[in-house]
Amino acid sequence: MFSRWHQARDEAADINVIPVMNLFMVLIPFLLMGAAFYHIGVIPVSTPTHNPQESDVPKTPTTVSCNVVITKEKVRLTVSSVSLEEEELETLAGEWPVKGDVYPIQPLQDHLKDLKARYPKSTTVIVLPDDDIAYQSLVGVLDAMREFQDGKRPDGEPLYRELFPVTVFSRFIPPPPDEPEEGAEGAEGGEGADGGEGADGADPGAEAPPAPEEEAP
């Protein structure tokens, strides 16, 4: 009786974990191969499409379109709209210097917040960076223009609010050497060399940004 009890106790103490270990040894390399140690996201953007009948100036009176020129010296924001007067558009514009390699993200974002508060249905920003602007710097400015963090949710997660999520990339055409400097700036079109008149200033001309891609919830 006692010996049977002793034998049963010894058997219960030895759990054979070797099969479990074998299973783990197979599973772990498999999962290691498929594991994502970085998380990839995307920024939806577009380029202008040339359409002579269309203009990217918003048709509805309650929306504006922002044009952001990014150089190594400054970030300049201008606004275009069909319903606002030139003087009013100039008051909505802004310019901030780049200090060293630090782009004026916060003042630009604050300015865009004000614009969004005044014209809440506005979504489009046309970006005109200099040729030698680094891609990382550009993405940093895009982040500031697309959305901002506005406190936290009840569950502790950050709450983001949309600013101007529809980003259109464009580019200056260098002014011809024989033409005067004034009015020579223009934005290159998306199709061929017959691009629009210019995405800078209050009248971007015939550049029509395509519809925005769907956003993540």
Binding site: I43, Q136, L142, E147, E213
Partner: protein, 184 residues
């Protein structure tokens, strides 16, 4: 001492696997969580470093263009070589990379053919609809046809090169892009 050793002679020495099992369990849980967040069939080019961003848009598969310091690849096939991440002056002057346009046009035609229903595709030459006047409507129709480019570009590239690639894609028919970023 000798007596106990004698008594346990028939029993093989036990290996303490419990702590090892605990460790494996933790690793397994971590890997399963990481596996859940895996991003489709995305293969990050090892020669480039994506920019970091706070963008929260989710990754979706698309025609993949990688702009590395050495070359431009379309779906992992090298299309054109770059020198220190820059194209040739002729390509910048032309505003396009002809080899890239050709490669992307093939992708675009394939995507359009796949997106169109077979009967519609057969009737397409006869019933050519006029182009839509509203750009938004046209884009909305194309929204799910897959004609979107996913651009992987190194964070140190200049805008000139990135825009040259985007413009080449635009000439090939693609007008909407997703810039791949590393989430902060």
């Amino acid at each position: 001492m000798k007596a106990s050793r004698f008594l346990n002679r028939d029993k093989p020495p036990g290996l303490m696997l419990t702590s090892l099992l605990d460790m494996f369990t933790i690793i397994l849980i971590f890997l399963i969580v990481s596996f859940e967040a895996e991003d489709y069939d995305f293969k990050l080019d090892p020669t480039l470093t994506l920019p970091e961003s706070t963008a929260r848009s989710v990754f979706k598969p698309a025609v993949n263009i990688a702009i590395t310091p050495q070359s431009v690849l379309v779906d992992r096939v090298e299309v054109v070589k770059l020198v220190d991440g820059k194209a040739t002056p002729e390509q910048y002057a032309a505003g396009e990379i002809p080899e890239l346009v050709d490669a992307l046009q093939k992708h675009y035609e394939r995507i359009q053919a796949e997106a169109a229903p077979p009967d519609e595709a057969a009737e397409a030459p006869e019933q050519a609809d006029p182009p839509p006047t509203e750009g938004d409507d046209a884009a909305a129709e194309d929204e799910d046809d897959g004609s979107i480019i996913l651009v992987q570009a190194d964070r140190n590239h200049d805008y000139k090169t990135v825009y040259l690639v985007l413009r080449s894609a635009s000439i090939a028919g693609f007008v909407r892009y997703r810039l791949a970023i590393l989430k902060k």
